[in-house]
C-alpha cells in the first residue's frame, strides 16, 4: 500500500518534538531545564506555521483510516494554538510546583499529538487510540502536582471515570461495528437498507453519545469536571477545558455527521435536549461558586452546551459555528485561566473574594479576565458574540427557536456570575497592595488572548473564512 508520509508530517513533527524534549529533559541537570518550556513553545509555533500548508489538501490515507482535510487542519490549529498559549503562560506556575519541570511540557506535547490524531481519525480504531493517547496523558497531567492531595485526588477521579467512559465508548463502537461491518467511519455511513434504525445501533449510538458526552462534559456526564478542574494544576485545567473538549467535538462531529447522518432526525432531538440541559445546569450551578476554577469549570460546561447546538444543526453552517466557536473559545478560556494561574502563583489563592482590587494591583490581569469572561458570556463586540451568532443562526430555522431562546437567556444569566467577578476586581479595594508579578511569556499569552478576542468580535471575517472552509471540507469528505 502506498502511504504518503508527507501528509502526516505535522503529526510526525509533533511526535519528534515530544521525544526530543523528553530526551533533553533527561540529559540536562534539573536546575537548568527551565528552557524546555520555551523550546516547546517555539517548536509548537513552528508546527503551527507548517500546518497552514495543509489547507486544501483534502485527502485520506490508509484507505480512509486517516483523513487530512481542512476540517482536521483547522482543529489541529485549535489544539496547537491552545498548546502554545498554555506552554507560554505556564512557566511560572510549573516552576512553583517544583518537581519534574520538563516532563510537564513533554506531556503537554503528547496530549496535543493525541488531539491532532483524533481530529484526523477516519476510523473508529484510530479514533479510540488517539482518544486514549490524549486521555492518558491528561490523567498524568491532572495528578502532576503530587504534593497536593487535591491534585492527586483529581487525577484518580479522572482516571476512574475516564476509564469507564472509554469502556462505554468502546462498547458503543463495537455495536456499531457489529451492525455495519466496518470500522471506517465514512463507510459506515454508506451502509444502506437497514431501514429504520436497528435496536443494536440505537444502543451503540447512545453509548457513543455517553462516551463523547463525558469528554465534552455534557450534562448528565459532567460530574467529574468541576472536581478535576479545581484539583488539577491550572495550566492543565486550561488545556483540558480547551483542547480535550475541542478534540472530542471534532471526533463527535465526524462520527455523527459521517456515519449516522442518515438517522439525524433521531439523534438531533437527543442532542438538542442534552444541549439545553447542559446550558441550563452549567450556568445555574456556576452562580453560587466561590472558587474561580470551579466557576470556570461550570461555565465551560455551559460553553460545551452552546457548541452542541452546532451539532444539533447537523449542517455545514452548524459545523462552521462549532469550528468558529471552538477557536475563539481557546483564546477566551486560556486567557482567563492564565490570569487565574498567575494570580495563584503570586498569592496562592483561587478564591474569588481574594480577587478584590485586582484592577488596582494589576490592571492587565483584571482587563484580560474581564474581556475573556464577557466574551464567554457573548457580549458584543467580543468574539463570543459572533460565535454564538453563527451557532444559533444555524439552528433557528430548523424548529429550534426554543433552544436559541434558552441559549441566549442563559448566556445573559451567565453575565450575572461573570460580572460578580468583575465587580470584585474593580469595585473593592485590595486587601494586600503587593504588586503581582507576571512573567513575559504569560504577558504575551494575556495580550494575545485579549487582542484576538476583541479583534475577532469586531472583525470575524478571517476566522469565519477558515471555519467555513473546514465545514465545507467535512461535507465533501462525507
Amino acid at each position: 500500500m502506498d502511504v504518503n508520509l508527507s501528509l502526516i508530517s505535522v503529526e510526525i513533527a509533533t511526535a519528534i518534538l515530544a521525544m526530543t524534549v523528553l530526551v533533553i529533559g533527561l540529559l540536562v541537570p534539573k536546575e537548568q531545564n527551565y528552557g524546555l518550556g520555551y523550546l516547546v513553545t517555539i517548536g509548537l509555533t513552528g508546527i503551527l506555521a507548517l500546518s497552514f500548508m495543509y489547507y486544501g489538501v483534502n485527502t485520506n490515507l490508509l484507505s480512509g483510516m486517516y483523513i487530512v482535510d481542512d476540517f482536521s487542519v483547522f482543529f489541529k490549529q485549535v489544539f496547537l494554538i491552545a498548546a502554545v498559549l498554555v506552554s507560554m503562560s505556564a512557566t511560572l506556575y510549573v516552576k512553583k510546583i517544583g518537581s519534574n519541570y520538563g516532563e510537564f511540557f513533554v506531556m503537554l506535547v503528547f496530549a496535543t499529538l493525541g488531539m491532532m490524531l483524533l481530529s484526523s481519525a477516519g476510523d473508529f480504531i484510530t479514533l479510540y487510540l488517539a482518544l486514549e493517547l490524549m486521555t492518558i496523558t491528561f490523567y498524568i497531567l491532572t495528578g502532576y502536582n503530587k504534593h497536593e492531595s487535591k491534585s492527586v485526588e483529581a487525577g484518580v477521579k479522572y482516571l476512574l471515570l475516564g476509564a469507564m467512559s472509554s469502556g462505554v465508548l468502546l462498547y458503543g463502537i463495537s455495536l456499531v461495528y457489529g451492525m455495519t461491518g466496518t470500522t471506517v467511519i465514512a463507510d459506515a455511513g454508506k451502509i444502506q437498507g437497514m431501514g429504520s434504525m436497528p435496536p443494536a445501533l440505537v444502543v451503540g449510538i447512545v453509548f457513543l453519545i455517553a462516551g463523547f458526552g463525558f469528554k465534552i462534559s455534557a450534562v448528565p456526564f459532567q460530574m467529574w469536571s468541576p472536581d478535576v478542574y479545581e484539583g488539577a494544576p491550572t495550566p492543565v485545567t486550561a488545556f483540558l477545558a480547551v483542547g480535550s473538549k475541542a478534540a472530542a467535538f471534532a471526533a463527535l462531529i465526524r462520527v455523527f455527521l459521517g456515519a449516522f447522518g442518515e438517522y439525524q432526525t433521531e439523534w438531533k432531538l437527543l442532542f438538542a435536549a442534552l444541549a439545553a440541559l447542559t446550558i441550563i445546569i452549567g450556568n445555574l450551578v456556576a452562580i453560587p461558586q466561590t472558587n474561580i476554577k470551579r466557576m470556570l469549570a461550570y461555565s465551560s460546561i455551559a460553553q460545551a452546551g452552546y457548541i452542541m447546538t452546532g451539532v444539533v444543526a447537523a449542517s455545514t453552517a452548524g459545523v462552521k459555528g462549532v469550528a468558529f466557536y471552538g477557536m475563539l473559545y481557546v483564546f477566551a478560556t486560556v486567557g482567563a485561566f492564565t490570569v487565574v494561574m498567575n494570580f495563584s502563583a503570586n498569592t496562592g489563592s483561587d478564591e474569588i473574594k481574594d480577587y478584590a482590587g485586582l484592577a488596582q494591583r494589576s490592571p492587565l490581569l483584571a482587563a484580560v479576565l474581564t474581556v475573556c469572561l464577557l466574551s464567554m458570556a457573548g457580549i458584543p463586540p467580543l468574539a463570543g458574540f459572533a460565535g454564538k451568532f453563527y451557532l444559533f443562526s444555524s439552528i433557528v430555522d430548523q424548529g429550534y427557536l426554543w433552544l436559541v431562546i434558552i441559549g441566549l437567556l442563559m448566556s445573559m444569566a451567565s453575565v450575572y456570575y461573570y460580572l460578580s467577578v468583575v465587580k470584585v476586581m474593580y469595585m473593592a479595594d485590595p486587601a494586600d497592595d503587593a504588586p503581582i508579578v507576571v512573567p513575559a511569556g504569560a504577558k504575551a499569552t494575556l495580550l494575545i488572548s485579549m487582542i484576538i478576542t476583541v479583534f475577532l468580535g469586531v472583525y470575524p471575517e478571517p476566522l469565519s473564512k477558515l471555519a467555513g472552509m473546514a465545514a465545507q471540507a467535512l461535507a465533501l469528505m462525507n
Binding site: L374, I379, P380, P381, F385, A386, F389, Y390, F392, S393, V396, D397, L401, V404, I405, L408, L409, S411, M412, V415, Y416, L419, V422, K423, Y426, M427, Y459, P460, E461, S464, K465, G468
Partner: protein, 515 residues
C-alpha cells in the same frame, strides 16, 4: 468617496479613549479636557451635518444621507453601513449634546479614579452613537450591547445608594444590567430568526434594515417576532411593567451616567421599536399596538403617581422619565405619522430636558451631599444659577409652551386622536391626566428644594462656576431654541418617519385594516 463624516463623529470619542490610556492617572484635569474636546468635535460636526441635512436634504424629501458602506463579514452579509436620515439625525444630535455636557457634569465620587471614569464614559457615548447611525442590523446590535457593561461598572464604582430606599449601588447596577440583557436576549433571538428567514426569502443573507423592510414576512411570524423585539426594546424604554430598573438605576448611577442613560440610551428602545419593529414588521406592530397603548397609559399615570410620593430627588426625576416614556409609547401605538412624529420629537425633548434635570440634581447632590428633599430647601438663595437650570428643566418637564417639550407632547396627543379609534382615544384622555400630575410633582420638588426660607446649613455650598457652566448653558440653549423654533426639529423628524408611516398605510391596505 466623500469625507466619512459619520465615522469621524463615531471615532472621535474612541480616539479620546486611546489618548487617555496613555495619560498618567494623576492628571485627571487633562483627561477631562481630552474627553471634553473629543466629544465637542463630535457635537460640532453633528450640528454641521444637521443643518446641511435640513437645508439640502429636507427639500428633496429626506432619505439616507452621508452614507458609508464597507463590506464587513461577507458570509453573514454584514456591511459596516452608516447613514442618517431625519429620524436618526435628531437622535445623533441628542447623543452628542448629552455626551458633551455629561463630561462636565458634577459627581463628587468621580474625583476618585477619574481616568477609568472618562474612558468608560467615552466608550459609552461612542456606543450610543453607533446604534443611531447604523443602517445594518448586526452593527446596530453590536453597539446596542456595547453600552451595557460600561454602565454597570460605572454604577458600581462611582454610583451611590439611596437614603430613602434600601437600594445599594451594586443592587441598582446589577438590576439594570440583568433587565437590559434579558430583554436583549429576546431581541437577539428574534433578530437571528428574522435574519435567517429573510436570507431564505431573499436568496442571500443581509442585515440591511431597508432591505429587510421590503421582505413580506407572514403575519404569524411578524406577530411573534415583533412581540419578542418589543419586549427587548420596551425593557430598555422602561415600559410598565418592565420599568423598575430605571428609577433604581438612575438613582444609583453617577450624574453623567444618569444623564446619558435617561437622556439618550433609553431612546434606543424607542428608536429600535420604530426603526426595526414598525418598519420591518408592520403587521406585528398592528397586532401589539393596543397592548402597548394600554401599558403606555399605565406608564404615564402610575409612574406620575409614584413620583409624587418620592422624597429622593433622583427618584423623582427617575420616575418622571418613566412617566414621559409613556407619551412616546402612545405616539408609537397610534401608528400614524402624526403620532410617530410626536413620539420621536418627545424622545428628543425628554432627552435634553432630563439631561439638564439630572445634571442639576447631580450638581446639588454633589454640592450638598444630600438629595433628600426634606433636608434641602431655599437653595435658590445660595445657588441661583443651579436653581435657574433646575427651574428650566422642571418647566420643560411640565410641558411649558416655548420650551422644547410642548410641541412634541401636543403632537403626540393629536396623533392619538387622529387614529379615530375610540379605544386609543380613551386611553389618550386618561394619559392627559399625566400632564397635570407631571406639573404637580415637578412644582412640588422645585418648591421644596429651591424655595422657602434660607437654610444656614447650606451657606457653605458653592454655586455653579467654571466648567460646570457648560452643561447648564448648552442644554438651556437647546431647550429654548427647539422650543421657540419647533420646525427645526419637526420638519426633520417628519421626513424621517414618513417612509415608516407610509409602509404602514400600505400594510394597512394589504390587510384591509383602517389605520
Amino acid at each position: 468617496m466623500d469625507f466619512p463624516v459619520l465615522t469621524v463623529i463615531l471615532l472621535a470619542p474612541i480616539i479620546g479613549v486611546l489618548i487617555s490610556i496613555f495619560i498618567p492617572k494623576e492628571e485627571s484635569g487633562i483627561i477631562k479636557a481630552v474627553a471634553g474636546v473629543t466629544t465637542f468635535i463630535s457635537l460640532a460636526l453633528t450640528v454641521v451635518i444637521y443643518f446641511i441635512y435640513l437645508n439640502q436634504q429636507i427639500p428633496l424629501g429626506g432619505g439616507m444621507a452621508f452614507t458609508e458602506d464597507i463590506p464587513w463579514v461577507t458570509d453573514l452579509g454584514v456591511v459596516y453601513s452608516l447613514g442618517v436620515d431625519g429620524f436618526s439625525l435628531p437622535m445623533l444630535l441628542l447623543t452628542n449634546i448629552i455626551g458633551f455636557t455629561s463630561v462636565f457634569s458634577r459627581s463628587w465620587s468621580v474625583e476618585k479614579r477619574a481616568k477609568e471614569f472618562y474612558i468608560l464614559l467615552l466608550i459609552l457615548i461612542a456606543g450610543v452613537m453607533g446604534t443611531f447611525i447604523a443602517r445594518d442590523l448586526f452593527i446596530f446590535f453590536l453597539f446596542y450591547e456595547v453600552v451595557v457593561i460600561p454602565i454597570y461598572i460605572m454604577v458600581i464604582i462611582w454610583g451611590s445608594g439611596s437614603k430613602t430606599k434600601a437600594v445599594t449601588k451594586e443592587y441598582a447596577g446589577m438590576k439594570l444590567t440583568i433587565y437590559l440583557l434579558i430583554g436583549s436576549a429576546f431581541l437577539l433571538a428574534a433578530m437571528i430568526w428574522m435574519y435567517v428567514k429573510a436570507a431564505g426569502m431573499l436568496g442571500s443573507p443581509t442585515f440591511d434594515i431597508a432591505t429587510l423592510a421590503t421582505v413580506a414576512f407572514d403575519e404569524k411570524f411578524q406577530i411573534v417576532a415583533f412581540g419578542m423585539m418589543a419586549f427587548g426594546f420596551t425593557c430598555l424604554l422602561s415600559m410598565f411593567p418592565f420599568h423598575s430598573w430605571s428609577p433604581d438605576g438612575y438613582a444609583g448611577a453617577p450624574t453623567a451616567v444618569s444623564m446619558i442613560h435617561a437622556g439618550v440610551l433609553k431612546k434606543i428602545g424607542g428608536y429600535g421599536l420604530i426603526r426595526i419593529g414598525l418598519f420591518i414588521l408592520p403587521l406585528g406592530a398592528k397586532f401589539w399596538a393596543p397592548v402597548i397603548a394600554v401599558l403606555a397609559v399605565a406608564n404615564v399615570v402610575y409612574a406620575a403617581l409614584i413620583c409624587m410620593a418620592q422624597k429622593d430627588m433622583k427618584y423623582v426625576v427617575g420616575y418622571s422619565s418613566v412617566s414621559h416614556m409613556g407619551f412616546v409609547l402612545i405616539g408609537i401605538a397610534s401608528l400614524n405619522i402624526i403620532g410617530l412624529n410626536g413620539a420621536v420629537a418627545n424622545m428628543f425633548a425628554h432627552g435634553v430636558m432630563s439631561a439638564l434635570f439630572f445634571s442639576m440634581v447631580g450638581y446639588i447632590y454633589a454640592a450638598t451631599k444630600s438629595r433628600y428633599i426634606p433636608d434641602l430647601g431655599g437653595l435658590a438663595h445660595q445657588m441661583p444659577v443651579a436653581a435657574t437650570g433646575f427651574v428650566v428643566a422642571g418647566m420643560a418637564s411640565a410641558g411649558l409652551p416655548g420650551l422644547v417639550s410642548f410641541v412634541p407632547e401636543f403632537t403626540t396627543f393629536v396623533g392619538a386622536f387622529a387614529t379615530k379609534d375610540p379605544f386609543i382615544q380613551t386611553l389618550a384622555i386618561i394619559a392627559l391626566t399625566g400632564v397635570v400630575l407631571g406639573a404637580v410633582y415637578v412644582l412640588r420638588m422645585i418648591a421644596n428644594v429651591l424655595f422657602g426660607p434660607r437654610k444656614e446649613e447650606w451657606d457653605h455650598v458653592e454655586d455653579i462656576k467654571g466648567s460646570y457652566w457648560i452643561p447648564v448653558v448648552t442644554l438651556i440653549i437647546f431647550i429654548i431654541a427647539f422650543g421657540v423654533y419647533p420646525s427645526l426639529l419637526m420638519d426633520m423628524v417628519n421626513s424621517g418617519v414618513e417612509p415608516i408611516a407610509a409602509k404602514f398605510l400600505s400594510a394597512g391596505a394589504q390587510i384591509g385594516g383602517n389605520i
